[in-house]
């Protein structure tokens, strides 16, 4: 909230919520003097009437004073909330025996209008300017820091590895249901896939920073808006490039070894997976900038990983494994699809034409509903027709989470932070459905 204008009706209404004003001016020694007093906003003249007060070096007419309106609500045992304040500057004048201030400039913050996290993000450039100036003054680089482990954890977005865990182990249990198992090879496949996934996350940050998409996004959440490690100056671009190269080198190396020792099909699946991972964000392809990111994620974290692991165990590809991968593919796609909603204002500024940018709220929510229904229909159809074991019908149980996501989208489409529970539920939906599909296959073998 910031403006350079006479009092706006909304500001007048806002100021009515404060019970006193603090008048600030400089005394004869140059020290500020703060005096609390009563006030009244005259909406007709746009002036603020303030009660006269007694204080040292009371300012005369024409002196520019500052009026501060400030409020917090105490929360015993916690601290406080409802933080808001308004600063108004203007010349003091006397009219009808009262002091009046005609606002010339205002600024302030109300956490109900600009959430604290957004307020912080909007000020990140200021933080960097300050630390750069401090660095120049001291001749030593001063930058924010966290322990290396935290920086790696943030930069790679490790918690999102559930998106890899589910398809890899789904491929493994489908193979087990077909009478074959090779768990050490599965663990190696997971390691390789995880490296590619983490590499994808890092590359995504690098290119979303270069394009300006992450910087333009001032409402990041734990689920969207990138890791922010570059925006916050926690690591350098060079560190991120080295990290990406390391992850892709390790992932590709493992993939080549698996292709050479287990099945040549893995080579082609791996090539496709690496291509999608790098060019998800990287130029010149930039799939996600073209609205193809959702499809890329569905293919990569669905059929490629499920079939790849199946091939690692059995040495061949399989129709049932492909079918089992489809609901997982749709649900992982929906993670990205929903997470793009709060990012869309920043994305549009960077030319990132995601589906959330291209479509209106109604179409996005409708698209979510259709895709979620399709995922559960595939599970039901597969379980009922025998394409997948009947136990996999257990994976229908988390369906109410999809309803929660739908409701969250309907209610909080315009509120990035209000959307967080829905985004969390959506990630949980993918993980739970995936784990129950895996459990279904395990039970099919065990029972």
């Amino acid at each position: 909230m910031s403006a350079k204008a006479v009092i706006h009706p909304k500001l007048a209404e806002h100021l009515a919520g404060y019970d006193h004003v603090v008048v600030s001016y400089a005394d004869a020694d140059g020290y500020p003097v703060n005096v609390a007093t009563g006030f009244r906003v005259d909406t007709e003249t746009g002036r603020i009437d303030i009660d006269r007060f007694e204080a040292p070096d009371v300012p005369g007419d024409g002196t520019e004073v500052e009026l501060t309106f400030s409020h917090v609500r105490p929360q015993p045992g916690v601290g406080y909330d409802q933080r808001r304040y308004v600063n108004v500057w203007g010349p003091l004048a006397t009219a009808s025996g009262r002091w009046v201030v005609e606002p010339a400039r205002t600024t302030g913050w109300d956490e109900e209008r600009v959430p604290f996290f957004e307020y912080c993000e909007r000020n990140v450039p200021r933080a960097h300017r300050y630390m750069e100036a401090l660095s120049a003054e001291r001749g030593v680089e001063i930058r924010p820091t966290l322990p290396l482990g935290w920086r790696l954890f943030l930069a790679t977005r490790v918690p999102f590895l559930t998106a890899t865990l589910v398809p890899v182990f789904l491929g493994a249990v489908v193979a087990r249901a077909h009478g074959e198992s090779a768990w050490w090879w599965v663990m190696l496949a997971f390691l390789g896939a995880a490296c590619i996934h983490l590499g994808l996350n890092v590359v995504n940050d690098i290119y979303d920073t270069e394009s300006g998409a992450d910087e333009a996004n001032v409402t990041p959440t734990p689920f969207s808006g990138g890791s922010r490690v570059l925006q916050h100056g926690l690591v350098s671009p060079g560190f991120m490039r080295a990290l990406a190269v390391g992850f892709f080198a390790a992932g590709i190396g493992i993939g080549l070894f698996l292709a050479a020792t287990r099945a040549t099909e893995i080579l082609w699946l791996g090539v496709a997976g690496v291509f999608l991972s790098i060019f998800y964000t990287a130029p010149p392809v930039k799939l996600v900038y073209r609205g193809l990111g959702d499809l890329a994620v569905a293919i990569g974290f669905g059929p490629i990983m499920v079939l790849g692991t199946y091939a690692v165990v059995t040495g061949r590809l399989d129709g049932e494994a492909l079918y089992a991968s489809l609901p997982v593919a749709i649900l992982v796609m929906l993670i990205l699809y929903v997470n793009q909603v709060p990012d869309r204002h920043g994305d549009v500024q960077a030319g990132k034409r995601t589906l959330a940018v291209r479509l209106g709220a109604r179409a996005v929510i409708g698209g979510y509903d259709v895709a979620a229904i399709a995922a559960f229909a595939l599970i039901a159809l597969g379980g009922l027709t025998g394409v997948m074991p009947a136990w996999t019908l257990l994976a229908l149980l988390p369906a109410p989470l999809a309803v929660k996501v739908h409701r969250g989208l309907v209610t909080h489409y315009e509120e990035p932070y209000g959307l967080m529970p829905a985004m969390g539920a959506n990630i949980g939906l993918h993980a739970l459905v995936g784990l129950l599909l895996i459990l279904g296959y395990v039970l099919d073998v065990a029972v």
């Binding site: 020694d29 003097v33 601290g79 820091t145």
Partner: protein
């Protein structure tokens, strides 16, 4: 010790929010609501580098005022409005951890801050902070309407 009037000390000890007023490059007052921390001698505040303009103003002109005016956010018996004028110094030898020496005083007023500090990885720049150390020079107290009581503070030896 700094010798602030007892009424001012009680208010500073209890206040959840105060108004820190600094002077900008054009001589105009600029006010920031901040939580005041009082150690019996000096008033301390901390400022994230995210909101560092006040620090630049203080470095250019150390004359500041801190007022406590909101009775509703100052859980203390016998509340009086207080303004402390003083000289401020920005302490930022260690932006990352130097301010943590003030955590006990901060936590006494805002217990949830300890939890936030443990989760600082979620908002790392917010926890890169400078300390604003204010040496009181003069105290204005308004126990009643009308003229304030003015108490000059002698400089500690």
């Amino acid at each position: 010790m700094g010798g602030l009037p007892e009424a001012a000390e009680r208010v500073l000890d209890a206040a959840l929010v105060s108004e820190l007023t600094v002077v900008d490059g054009r001589g105009r007052p600029v006010t920031y609501p901040l939580i005041p921390l009082y150690d019996g001698e000096k008033i301390y505040m901390t400022s994230s580098v995210l909101f560092s303009r006040k620090l630049e103003h203080i470095k250019a002109n150390p004359k500041v005022a801190v007022s406590v005016t909101d009775a509703g956010a100052t859980p203390v018996d016998g509340f009086v409005r207080v303004t402390v004028q003083g000289d401020a110094r920005v302490v930022e030898d260690d932006l990352h951890a130097g301010w943590e020496s003030l955590l006990p005083l901060w936590e006494a007023k805002e217990p949830v801050i300890r939890k936030f500090v443990r989760q600082r990885f979620a908002l790392p720049l917010f926890f890169e902070r400078s300390i604003i150390e204010i040496t009181p020079r003069r105290v204005l107290l308004w126990p009643h309407d009308g003229n304030p009581e003015v108490v000059e503070i002698e400089e500690a030896a």
